[in-house]
Symmetry: C2
Subunit: 308 residues, 2 copies
Amino acid sequence: MKRYSIGFDIGGTNIAAAMYDEKYDEVSRLSVPFPKDSDVYAVSKLLSTMKDSLAAEVDKKEIKGVGIAVPGSIDSKGEIVIDAHNLGFFDAPLLKAAKECMSGIEVAMLNDANAATLAEFNKGVLFGCDTGALLTLGTGVGGGLILNGRLFNGGRGSGVEMGHMIIAQDGEKCTCGNSGCAEALCSATWLISQGRRNFEGMIKEAADGNKENVSAKTVIDCAKAGDKTAAAIFEKYVDSLGSLVASIINLTDAQVIAVGGGVSGAGEFLFEPLRENVHKKCFFRTHGDILPAKLGNDAGMLGAALYI
Amino acid sequence: MKRYSIGFDIGGTNIAAAMYDEKYDEVSRLSVPFPKDSDVYAVSKLLSTMKDSLAAEVDKKEIKGVGIAVPGSIDSKGEIVIDAHNLGFFDAPLLKAAKECMSGIEVAMLNDANAATLAEFNKGVLFGCDTGALLTLGTGVGGGLILNGRLFNGGRGSGVEMGHMIIAQDGEKCTCGNSGCAEALCSATWLISQGRRNFEGMIKEAADGNKENVSAKTVIDCAKAGDKTAAAIFEKYVDSLGSLVASIINLTDAQVIAVGGGVSGAGEFLFEPLRENVHKKCFFRTHGDILPAKLGNDAGMLGAALYI
């Protein structure tokens, strides 16, 4: 009998899902808009319908289980979504609801950064690592850790919050209320805010004179094209990211630090100066590699399926 | 037959050593000045002599082995002291020399912060932890990690360098060449330099008007006694230390963070505001405890013995 796993990656905009075979090769995929203002029962019913669509060609008995990746904090038992503000879920019993809607199969839930880390560990750039980290640079800064050859969910089961390591105390305000968190300085959001604050030269041109049009990519593209203002912003960004990566390496001595998320799309334009910056800041003479994450947006759903 | 272990803690001033029984209760102890400007062979001969003194009352066959804690970086195989500047050892083959001088028994070497962590884990405040950290606040800032219930020596075997996590990029220069490392801001050295830089009021009195007399304790005692200058320095110190501890917790979600070293002697005058500061900066609603280390200066030699 074949055994299939299904992974859901719930985001504030879409729910992405895929079914995988035993080798975790993709069999089918699906994406639907996230139903805003729904409770966990409505969302769970939707997940159940999606599961049936994904597995339409397959004997129900062949479905091993369903993994659900959620963008937020989860209690240590993996049952309650403590806080996923993009979904509007606070202290929400998503696992219980999902189990009720999909009875008879295994259901498990994990944080989306952990899911992506698990995916990179099994099929991506962290493959073969005993100790590795994934950093995702998007609207926020997330990440996950592989320690002793398995996913590490924090010593008390609360997860890992790399985005809230403090790299510049007394620095910029973070969404969490602190100052100088990595998330405040290494997110796409920081690049955007800086591009808007320094709205001149090529950045202004590229955004057709409208600040609202400035994206992280705008700033990066202008820096690539040689605009001095954009280049200075990007240099500062790389310096902050270098501090974060160096701190992670100085604490964990990781073999590989994988970097994913939107900003990592800058490619070697980011990775080359980043490696140089981190090397300067690392305490160890030699240290692990800093490599682009491999699985992109599919990492969340693959990792969710792998978690089963 | 009984089995004894011997632990050496080599420091730039003294070599401390103790012999322990099977329960790691101390049987005998010894301390001699560190012979400056000696090579690893001369030091190893001294260690061998010390071993014989410690074990004078014991059958040689009952000596299980010898552990050596070294204040510096060690290669991933635990053989070479890469850099222990207080000892004048650079790329020095201490393990080989010690094995030659103490043939017939097991000899192993580890970093002194790792040794202290192992001791706190086995007989101190980290006992029973699955995930815990020890931070030592002295001339520098060191520390070690317990992960998955055992000593973690870094993903590539390079150790753990908590003192070089960056908490204030663009901040004060660190001895390592970077800026804003925890060591630059959370060491006793920082308290001393600030006390000398703000040489006034009670600090000046306590030091008899001589800057050279200012110690970390001077600043702490003056802060305790209500001196405003000293209190402001200490408050800034607690804030920096809070950033470091919060970063470690946000990355590891440790169950216990133990704090030792000279500055921890300030007791609850340090721990109370530190806990408050860390709680404010922690991403998790609830988090691990921040507790004073238990074993003091004996942690290094006990940990070395435990490492065998």
